[in-house]
């Protein structure tokens, strides 16, 4: 049973975006009618620092193939210092995920401002491509645990 | 009372002979034991780093290593500004990274950890215990003598290496010399360059430097210049008469080492440290100053 073999397989990617920068940038991409792959689903949050690491684990557990956390550029946080916490938390998170066998490319933190529509498009396009190349994620997934949680 | 390693430097055997003798005399008086680094070598001065950075670090590093081998674990006091600078550079290089240290150790072919701190003679004599010891041994004073303390470049700069009390207006020597009752003048050229070896290899370009230093000291009312470096003293002293000829100026500013003033006020006979051997006549000013100053109160 290999999902990867399915040529029509499309990854599901979850993006946590802060309301003030990245979500605005994503809206601007729409206003400018920019085009990018339809793999990404955005969850709108007030600030990237609202993202609890638990959310990311849950996303992988429930079958997401990739997760992005996007916020204002460091120094430009709407809430002054929130994204500094984000940055520190997710540097740690990335290493934890890597340690647990999740390809680091599956989890990406990106800073995209409200004016960087093109950056949003490019980032989403690139990440979607990268994760598509990686194939479906199976680690952490409920199914994986049910099957014994060992070698895939 | 106090022991430390001592790095005299090459000039001390030649033009810096008087400096060396005055250092010895003062050290004896105040009970400072200066242990010469066994089998020390030339620090490389400016010539070495003109040519090759590794050589410029390895030469002084060998002296650090020699001091470490001796096992005394004491600070290394350096009497010459250039030697001091090079030794500090070497120590900081050794301490900077294990790779740099390994490279230096390979060149000098002995271990070198940089464990012994390097200090200048000015820093050494500025310490409260030394200041007190000097004060206790002074029998005569130079009240009223106006001196311009000249620090030169390398005891002040780069400040991260030389660690002066103030890179633009250092006061260590001023405070030491003030113990004798002499009055250090506030002047502008304390740390300006004397030209160093360019006085030999590019004299036309470098001579105005000496002239400016002398002029400014004179402008601020100094009777003489005091230094803490054999090369600074040599440049300001030996070349003085010729520079006066070239650039004009009908005065003479005798040049002393700070230890010479201390020795003198401790009652050491000037002949014992060759006061009469200075190029710019230096005995007369001191004779008058001592006469005026009288005995220490």
């Amino acid at each position: 049973m290999s999902v990867k073999a399915d040529p029509n397989w499309e990854p599901k990617i979850l993006a946590f975006c802060c309301n003030w920068c990245t979500y605005t940038g994503a809206d601007l991409a729409g206003l400018n009618r920019m085009k990018y792959p339809a793999n990404v689903r955005v969850v709108r949050l007030p600030c990237s620092s609202r993202v609890n690491p638990q959310f990311i684990l849950r996303a992988f557990q429930k079958g997401c193939d990739g997760v992005m956390v996007c916020g204002c550029h460091p120094g430009d946080c709407h809430y002054a210092t929130g994204n500094y916490f984000t940055r520190r938390r997710f540097m740690l998170m990335k290493r934890l995920l890597e340690y647990n066998g999740i390809d680091p490319q599956r989890f990406q933190a990106r800073w995209i401002s409200g004016s960087e529509a093109a950056k949003f498009r490019d980032t989403v396009t690139r990440v979607a491509g990268e994760i598509k190349a990686l194939g479906p994620n199976t680690r952490f997934q409920e199914k994986w645990y049910e099957e014994g949680g060992e070698a895939q | 009372m106090k022991r430390c390693y001592y790095f005299p430097g090459c000039s001390m055997a030649a033009t810096g002979k008087g400096y060396q003798q005055s250092i010895d005399a003062v050290a004896r008086k105040i009970g400072l034991e200066l242990v010469a680094i066994p089998d020390w070598n030339c620090c490389g001065a400016t010539a070495a780093h003109t040519m090759n950075e590794r050589m410029a670090l390895a030469l002084p590093a060998r002296n650090l290593a020699r001091a470490e081998q001796d096992g005394g674990g004491m600070e290394i006091a350096v009497a010459c500004a250039a030697c001091y600078s090079r030794m500090q550079y070497a120590r900081q290089a050794v301490l900077s990274s294990p790779e740099k240290r390994a490279e230096i150790e390979a060149i000098i072919d002995m271990p070198c950890s940089g464990s012994n701190p390097v200090i200048s003679f000015l820093e050494l004599f500025s310490r409260p215990e030394l200041m007190e010891a000097v004060q206790a041994k002074l029998t005569k004073n130079l009240n009223g003598l106006k001196v311009a303390c000249y620090y030169g470049c390398l005891t002040s700069r780069p400040s991260a290496i030389a660690r002066p009390d103030d890179p633009e207006n250092p006061m260590q020597m001023d405070r030491i010399v003030a113990l004798t009752g002499a009055e250090p003048v506030a002047w502008d050229f304390k740390t300006e360059c004397c030209g160093a070896s360019h006085q030999v290899d590019a004299p036309k370009a470098a001579q105005p430097l000496i002239h400016r230093i002398l002029t400014n000291a004179r402008e601020h009312g100094a009777d003489c210049i005091v230094t803490a470096c054999p090369l600074c003293a040599l440049n300001l002293d030996m070349r003085q008469s010729k520079i006066m000829e070239t650039f004009g100026g009908d005065y003479a500013l005798p040049v002393y080492q700070f230890t010479e003033l201390l020795a003198l006020c401790m009652g050491v006979h000037p002949r014992d440290f060759g006061l009469h051997t200075h190029f710019t006549p230096a005995v007369g000013l001191m004779r008058n100053a001592l006469k005026k100053g009288g005995d220490q109160a």
């Binding site: 809206d27 085009k35 609202r50 959310f55 429930k62 002054a80 | 633009e168």
Partner: protein, 659 residues
């Protein structure tokens, strides 16, 4: 059981052209608890809203999902709409099918799949929504202004003229700040005192303004609308309620000390007004120099005072009051160049002075009655050198930033020297000449026409030779080392934040940048606000600027305060953090990461089995919390949660995506 309604908007063809909206609605209808699902041509239009309102009644809906454009577009519209329905405005979620779906995808199939996902996520989230209610906080319509320089003065007058009460706190005995020390102001050359002292008098006489000089803020609590502020007024030893400011005491006081106002160039008495036009125009006693206060001898002032105003037993007093808003206008000081620039003599030369000292020397009411004379010997200088950027644009010894006002006041100094001292020469060492202001470049042109010699290069050393101050520089345009022999040197020294400002910013809980300038909420769009609601900025406390910019910013801050005061109470967003005190372990991680200092640790009575115990828990100040949610991710026990974006809501959204 919840009753969810889903409305999928066509947005004309904007959404429907790419997304199969009917299919999205059909999929929605299949979801549990969705009792109503339709599409609508234009949901945000009046008919669209009416249809929804009717459906809410008809189907007894208790929550609503609208699949339309970005919530940043119409969330507020739809919340307003819900206000007059049975649904709480916060029982609404919006799925962004336009900006983040239809407009960015071309593959209809994939776009529709994504739209269904987004709809499902919104439905999952809305199921977890709880009704939220905006609360209001009362606004005390009284404004505190910290600092009585031109920024504080302007802001105070603007707020007071709008009819609100204002208190100015100034730590010196008079308001006026730096501006009143200046002689003339660029580029128009109007007399600084002539234009600033009338404003000072206005402040002193304004019925809505309370002036607290010799005072400092010592404690700040509360939040926007009701800050509790404690102000300490130092002992003045003169009863200002009785004093008429006749000045007899000043003429008789035997103690003379250097005048701070005149930069030490002349003396003032121990009982003194800092300058003639001081406001309040009443003296204070300087306890550090008064003989009576130091040694118990003298008391001449008390003897001559006709009204018995002198009270040597006066003590400092503290006042606590409630303010609805605070304007920080603490201004600047000049960098202590003497400690940093030994190469410029480190303060050893009396004739190497700062621009501010020059202002006093050239001022008609100054110590030299406006004659430009050298401080060392009182003679007229013939050759004057002006050195710019002393401490500015110099990260090694000073500050990395440009102090902004120096290029212009240096040009003004040059102009004044050339005007007042015929035959004098002025040499200005500069790196760049920055004149971005109305009439500034023209003024610079005029100064060069006056004869000022501009030399591009930084002076490396000033030394004395033949009685002259030799300034050694490079003319970088010639590429040659040069020197100028000067009689006097004026240094354009960097502006730095006022001494002691850190103490105040810590008290106020507002951020500063690495140079200790107060940080504005947004450098472009919120330049006079701080991150803390109700605290505003005016003038150079925020960064170096000249008088026009300072005054403009002060008025802007005043408008912000008036806007706040125009309402009796303020609605606060209900989407803020809250603590489950049962779960909270009191670790305080949330306290440290909150950018608004909105969380504090408090002690509560709790039960541990049968015992009553004291327990330390976190508590959120709803007036300060801005709802970023940073604390929620720091919480180890999950005790703290953000209303509107709760953990449960977000997790359900995540789950819904992956069904």
């Amino acid at each position: 059981m919840s009753r969810i309604g889903v409305v999928v908007c066509h947005c004309g063809t904007n959404i429907a052209g790419v997304v199969d909206v009917e299919r999205v609605a059909a999929e929605a209808a299949k979801l549990p608890n969705v009792v109503f699902a339709v599409t609508n041509k234009y949901t945000c239009s009046e008919p669209g809203q009416a249809t929804m309102k009717a459906a809410i009644e008809e189907h007894q809906l208790d929550r609503l999902v609208i699949c339309s454009c970005s919530p940043r577009m119409h969330e507020a519209t739809f919340r307003r709409m819900l206000k007059d329905t049975r649904i709480n405005p916060y029982m609404l979620e919006i799925a962004n099918l336009r900006e983040q779906c239809a407009w960015v995808h071309t593959d209809k199939e994939k776009a529709t799949e994504k739209a269904i996902d987004l709809m499902r996520m919104a439905v999952a989230k809305v199921e977890q929504n709880k009704p939220l209610f905006t609360s209001t906080i009362p606004i005390h319509k009284k404004c505190l202004i910290i600092g009585g320089g031109i920024a504080g003065i302007q802001a105070a007058l603007d707020v007071a003229d709008a009819g609100y009460q204002v208190t100015i706190v100034e730590r010196e005995p008079s308001i006026g700040g730096h501006m009143v020390m200046l002689d003339k102001t660029f580029p128009t050359l109007d007399c600084s005192a002539c234009i600033s002292t009338p404003k000072m008098v206005d402040v002193g006489q304004h019925p809505n303004i309370t002036l607290m000089t010799s005072s400092e803020v010592v404690n700040v609590g509360g939040y926007v609308g009701s800050f509790e502020v404690t102000i300490k007024q130092k002992a003045r030893y003169v009863d200002h309620t009785k004093c008429t400011g006749c000045g007899l005491c000043e003429t008789k006081c035997p103690t003379k000390v250097p005048s701070e106002f005149n930069q030490g160039y002349n003396k003032r008495t121990a009982i003194y007004k800092p300058f003639a036009q001081a406001v309040p125009a009443k003296p204070v006693i300087d306890p550090d120099s008064c003989k009576m206060l130091k040694e118990g001898k003298c008391g001449v002032c008390a003897k001559v005072c006709p009204l018995g105003c002198i009270d040597f037993k006066d003590t400092a007093k503290e006042y606590t009051e409630t303010y609805g808003a605070i304007i920080v206008a603490t201004g600047y000081d000049l960098i202590p160049w003497q400690d940093l620039y030994g190469e410029y003599g480190g303060g050893r030369y009396a004739d190497v002075i700062t621009g501010l000292q020059f202002e006093r020397l050239v001022n008609a009411s100054g110590p030299t009655e406006g004659h430009i004379l050298r401080p060392s010997d009182g003679t007229e200088p013939k050759d004057v050198v002006i050195i710019k950027c002393v401490g500015s644009r110099d990260p090694h010894k000073g500050k990395s930033y440009c102090s902004r006002a120096c290029c212009m006041y240096s040009a003004k100094h040059a102009h004044q020297i050339l005007e007042k001292l015929p035959g004098a020469n002025v040499y200005i060492f500069y790196m760049d000449v920055r004149t971005p202001g109305k009439g500034y470049e023209e003024f610079y042109d005029r100064t060069r026409a006056d004869g000022a010699v501009y030399i591009r290069g930084r002076v490396s050393k000033i030394y004395k030779e033949n009685g002259k101050l030799v300034c050694k520089g490079e003319d970088t345009l010639l590429g040659k080392p040069v020197s100028v022999q000067a009689d006097m040197v004026v240094l354009a020294t960097a502006m730095v934040p006022a001494v002691g400002v850190e103490k105040l910013t810590t008290m106020l809980g507002i951020a500063t940048d690495p140079d200790k300038w107060v940080q504005e909420a947004h450098p472009k769009l919120r330049p006079v606000e701080t991150q803390t609601g109700g605290i505003f900025l005016a003038g150079t406390c925020q960064g170096p600027k000249d008088i026009p910019d300072t005054v403009a910013q002060a008025s802007a801050a005043a408008v912000k305060v008036c806007g706040l005061f125009s309402k009796d109470e303020m609605e606060t967003s209900p989407m803020i953090s809250g603590v489950d005190q049962q779960k909270c372990c009191g670790c305080g991680f949330c306290v440290n990461c909150c950018p608004y200092k909105a969380i504090s640790l408090v002690e509560i009575d709790a039960r541990e089995g049968a015992r009553r115990v004291k327990k330390t828990v976190a508590s959120v100040n709803s007036g300060l919390c801005q709802g970023c949610g940073c604390c929620t991710a720091a919480c180890r026990t999950g005790a703290i949660d953000l209303s509107g974006y709760t953990n449960a809501q977000i997790l359900k959204e995540v789950d819904a995506l992956c069904l």
